[in-house]
């Protein structure tokens, strides 16, 4: 018993030491908490952007919190995040007009695609537009998996249904309430259809039995914005991040991301 307690104490002490070392490395500009969405993280873009930001601004240490869009905005409202990088333009504008954010700047966009099983039982691939494809899926009764989590992607999906003049529901329409990666996994296992951002899909494609069926519809445009939180703990850092990600250097990085791995860019930078 005594020996076990000694060992436990040693393990705990080790943990404390490691934690302490990390804290000492913090730069003078301090910690910057960036709230973004799980789908942005799943796209792999941050693995490129965050080290580049740290190189350009070594005084800041960025902590990325990847959550749902709703939670990201909520974190901002509560000032638990310093900056937001999300993709729900309407909710973002409301966030800023309610005084929670100092400004909203466009950063980049990517596009959504409709994915489904390769044999495409609903014949969605033949559709001319996203709403037409959704109508085909609904009429065929093939399973459709919705994010159902009030995320930017979910909002876009609902916009497509609205454009199709349909109110989805019925035994074929399920909600996962989870992130894009998990929802794609469920869709693949059940051989159903879903709406996904292209970046997450390309990142996970190798492990999925799904193919892109509809793309290029202007309705499937996915705009990302950056918002420094008003009265944030690290306001200076938030401004620096917003300025950097909309700068020429960062925009160029974004424009190139994906070329090497997927043979095509995943995001189109469009900061003004």
């Amino acid at each position: 018993m005594f020996v076990s307690l000694m060992v436990l104490g040693l393990v705990a002490a080790l943990g404390v030491r490691c934690g302490g070392d990390e804290d000492r490395e913090a730069g003078s500009g301090g910690e910057l908490i960036l709230a973004s969405t799980t789908s942005t993280r799943d796209s792999g873009l941050f693995d490129l952007l965050l080290p580049a930001f740290s190189e350009a601004n070594p005084e800041y240490r960025v902590k990325l919190v990847a959550v749902g869009t709703g939670e990201a905005l909520r974190l901002g409202e509560r000032k638990d995040a310093d900056a937001l990088l999300v993709h729900a333009p309407e909710a973002e504008r409301e966030f800023v007009s309610n005084g929670y954010g100092t400004e909203r700047r466009k950063v980049m966009y990517n596009d959504f695609v409709v994915v489904g099983p390769g044999d495409d039982p609903a014949g969605a691939e033949l559709s001319s537009s996203a709403p037409a494809a959704f109508t085909d899926i609904a009429e065929s009764g093939a399973p459709f998996y919705s994010r159902g989590d009030d995320s930017g992607t979910h909002k876009k999906e609902l916009a497509v249904w609205e454009e199709a003049g349909m109110d989805p529901g019925g035994a074929w329409y399920s909600e996962t309430g989870q992130g894009m990666g998990s929802t794609l996994r469920v869709t693949s296992e059940k051989q159903g259809y879903t709406l996904t951002d292209r970046a997450t899909f390309l990142n996970l494609e190798a492990n999925l039995d799904l193919t892109v069926l509809v793309e290029g519809d202007p309705l499937l445009f996915n705009q990302y914005g950056v918002i420094p939180v008003a009265g944030a703990h690290n306001q200076e850092g938030a401004q620096a991040f917003a300025a950097w990600i909309t700068s020429g250097a960062a925009q160029e990085l974004i424009a190139d991301y994906g070329e090497e791995e997927f043979g095509r860019a995943l995001f189109v930078p469009n900061a003004q």
Binding site: G70, E71, Y173, E175, T176, G177, S182
Partner: protein
């Protein structure tokens, strides 16, 4: 503080209204975790008795393995079960993924070590003389074993309670193999814990906390039921 007050009100609201959605989520949680614990007891109780009472080479290693199982992260259990049941996995033909069956299976792996380890420790701490004496007085092996179980019944009940607590409160495994799916507004594989994760992700902190309070309330009720029974009906049954 305001957040907690709002959550408390929301919780009372949810409980009073108890709409079909919440009820379905609660019932699925109870069904999945309840079945999982039942199976965990059927497997873990004899295993724990054997490991706690038998003396053989390698027993220490097995006991250490069971104890290590207590530290098994649910999400790892979920990942392993997911890979087994996936369309591309060895058991994909069963088509169990994203069903309550898969969730129950994963939770058996989580609750199992609790039931086994605590049972093992409980019967291991009963003096060995007790069984020897019973055997010496002419009791059969089964009767002697029953005597040990009766002596350790309070701890064994604690093992069941701990297993249930571990199962109903975990989220990593049920999220992974259940998928938190609701179809056409009615529940398929959404449990209280996965619903809490979803509500949190949506920024609905009050609703998430309210669901957490209901979860605690239910866990409390189940524990009271189990421990009362230990003194009451179940206890009498064991003492007879």
């Amino acid at each position: 503080m305001e957040l907690f007050l709002d959550s408390l009100l929301e919780g009372i609201n949810l409980l009073v209204a108890l709409d079909r959605y919440i009820l379905e989520v609660i019932l699925l949680s109870l069904r999945v975790s309840g079945t999982a614990v039942l199976i965990a007891v059927v497997i873990g109780l004899p295993l724990g008795l054997w490991l706690g009472l038998a003396r053989f080479r390698g027993r220490g290693v097995l006991a250490a393995l069971v104890n290590t199982g207590l530290g098994l992260p649910p999400v790892v259990v979920g990942l392993v079960v997911y890979m087994m049941l996936s369309r591309r996995g060895p058991l994909g033909f069963l088509e169990l993924l994203y069903t309550p069956g898969a969730m129950t299976g994963a939770q058996v792996l989580i609750a199992g070590p609790y039931v086994t380890a605590i049972t093992m420790a409980a019967v291991g701490s009963i003096p060995r003389d007790l069984r020897q004496q019973a055997l010496g007085l002419g009791a059969s092996r089964i009767q002697a074993l029953w005597l040990v179980v009766r002596e350790a019944r309070v701890s064994i009940m604690a093992a069941v309670v701990a297993g249930f607590g571990a199962a109903i409160s975990e989220v990593g495994a049920v999220m992974m193999v259940g998928g938190n799916i609701a179809t056409a507004g009615s529940n398929e594989t959404r449990t209280m814990t996965t619903a809490i994760v979803q509500e949190t992700g949506m920024g609905h902190y009050e609703r998430a906390l309210a669901l957490g309070m209901i979860l605690l309330l239910i866990a409390f009720a189940v524990n009271v039921f189990l421990t009362r029974n230990q003194e009451g009906v179940g206890g009498r049954w064991l003492k007879s």
